[in-house]
Point group: C2
């Protein structure tokens, strides 16, 4: 999957790209089943909200074959290599559940703010690419971006340890208002299988999920290999330390896995 | 403004109708200015959230000329008379601010649940019609409906006095999930001047406003005159006791007011 010159230009200008329909229903169904299994695991990488419902499975590529394939998927890795202009490694991997009724707010923040402050990542030569495993709607806590805010560099931030169950460097209201007056706010919503990629300095937030259904999004944070982190303060499964360039798998890596599961299911029944 | 047979059929089936572009930019701008003025008033009808920001100006038709005109506007009153099949009176009038950053969640509820329990309104022959004074987006706490849930009658509810600053009869999670499995969830979003009308038994909620801008919606709750409330437990300015049939004003009542303000502004400058 190659981004067009128009898409590259749009990403550079707006700070994000939304691509519906990148993964098939068969591929997303496989990942949805796997997310449910992973959230049931009793592992330190699986974080829960104050209510006990799952919030994030970190580093799921290291204990799940479908999520390993997704982390090496050419439809995710190649566009990012194109934008970051070179080989990339996996800095962070999150399977984020926004649980039905209980899924919490994420306050306004920049991801690179955390990567710079906590991990000493030298430059914003890194970005997120995400896959919707469920349809994302206005009801279930979509990501909300301030377009073009990535052009303003790293903003001052406070370390929020109170609002939710995950520590986050968050922006103050004056900053958010100033940036939004210039860029507006947008909420890309769409069906399962959509891909949303955004610059690591793009300011974003997400409201709670008040719908009766969970909503899972997988995030790969990919970083140019020359730009790897210098400080190893956070656990390895939060901020990875393997800076080997990713070699993408074949395009059918997930659909082959789904087909294999299907045929095993048929044998068993 | 007359609803078409197809619109009447859609309202009956889905429980709501969304009509963008009913009021002009000139008319909504007048109402936005007036909302800002009303929220600044020190009156018992103007409720605030726990943070102190305005939440609801009740009965604004009784102390504001623009909101009086809106409450008698033919584009709002006539479609409701059509649906309720007869003369209507004004049961409740709310100018609901969802304040920037602080605007609170409304939990899942039915409006008729409150009107029946608190006000002894005999039947669900009443409904809401609302006007967006600001654009409503996924970011600023849109209304979220469960389509077709109005066909299931009044649901059991608990009196929530905790979650927010306004007491509300709210539905439990099992009920919301069951209804949403059947009808789905939708969030009608659109520009200022849009009109959203919904059945008084339609189950709905709305997430917090995490955007940096306030978002105001005016709600008229209109009731068939034969179906007026029997119990006067809540203040008169929350649940009105004047059951006189509304005589709609002329269609230009708001634009004439805006033009008059405009010419006064020119004289003054």
């Amino acid at each position: 999957m190659k981004l067009s010159p128009a898409q590259l230009e749009e990403f550079d200008r707006e700070g994000y790209l939304f691509l519906p329909g990148v993964f098939s229903e068969e591929e997303t169904a496989l990942l949805r089943r796997e997310a449910a299994r992973v959230y049931g695991l009793d592992r330190e990488e699986v974080w829960r909200e104050s209510s006990g419902v799952p919030r994030t499975a970190f580093a799921a590529q290291s204990y799940s074959e479908p999520f390993r394939c997704l982390g090496l998927h050419p439809r995710l890795v190649e566009p990012v290599m194109q934008i970051l202009d070179g080989p990339v490694y996996l800095h962070q991997y999150k399977v984020n559940a926004k649980a039905a009724f209980d899924g919490e707010v994420w306050q306004w923040h920049q991801d690179y703010g955390t990567w710079a402050r906590d991990d000493e990542m030298p430059e914003p030569r890194a970005m997120n690419i995400s896959v919707f495993l469920d349809e994302v709607t206005a009801a279930n806590g979509p990501l909300i971006f301030i377009p073009r805010s990535h052009k303003q560099g790293v903003q001052a931030a406070g370390h929020d340890l109170e609002t939710t169950s995950y520590p986050l460097w968050t922006l103050d209201r004056e900053t958010v208002t100033r940036l939004a007056e210039a860029g507006g706010v947008v909420a890309p919503t769409g069906p399962a299988g959509s891909v949303l990629m955004f610059h690591c300095n793009l300011v974003h937030a997400s409201p709670p999920n008040i719908s009766p259904w969970g909503r899972t999004i997988v995030y790969l944070s990919l970083c140019h290999v020359d730009n790897h982190i210098r400080r190893f303060q956070r656990p390895e499964w939060v901020a990875h330390r393997d800076f080997t360039p990713i070699e993408p798998l074949a395009d059918d890596c997930l659909s082959a896995l789904a087909a294999a599961q299907e045929s095993r299911g048929k044998e068993a029944s």
